[in-house]
Symmetry: C2
Subunit: 90 residues, 2 copies
């Protein structure tokens, strides 16, 4: 694997991997008051743009990891809506 | 600006932008118990890899936004250490 793709693969693996314990934690604590609703919404939208960017640019690491991160991002958004406390509390 | 770079620019702007209210919220609430320590540590490491990936691959959007996200990631890590509750509580 080329250095460039290895760096992207590692970056994606570690960053995306880090979201798993974060999502797990929200569902374990059944609490997401500290999580910003703006963050979760922007994150899902932003990651979608990165995914299309990866497809257009033909970058395997960007495609792979942003697909998985998108799912984790949507789980965080779900946790925020379900456990985030009063909805006006952004 | 090429479509590819525009997508990357938008992806970075929205994703990174979303972190600002998240970091702000942790410092406002002075609480980061829901934030996973694994997430913040992995995030900082992972984003560093993405930054080097962007430099090696010569991708302006990846370089720009991962530099800013790295700073925001380190602020989240600081907030977790400062307000995250008992350190063993990952």
């Amino acid at each position: 694997m080329e250095t460039q793709e290895l760096l992207g693969f590692m970056g994606g693996l570690i960053t995306t991997g880090g979201f798993v314990p974060q999502v797990w934690r929200l569902f374990k604590l059944k609490s997401a008051v500290e999580i910003s609703l703006f963050f979760t919404v922007f994150f899902v939208i932003g990651i979608s743009f990165w995914l299309v960017y990866g497809i257009v640019a033909g970058l395997p690491s960007v495609i792979l990891w942003n697909s998985i991160t998108l799912i984790l991002g949507m789980s965080m958004l779900y946790a925020k809506v379900k456990y985030g406390g009063p909805i006006h509390d952004k």
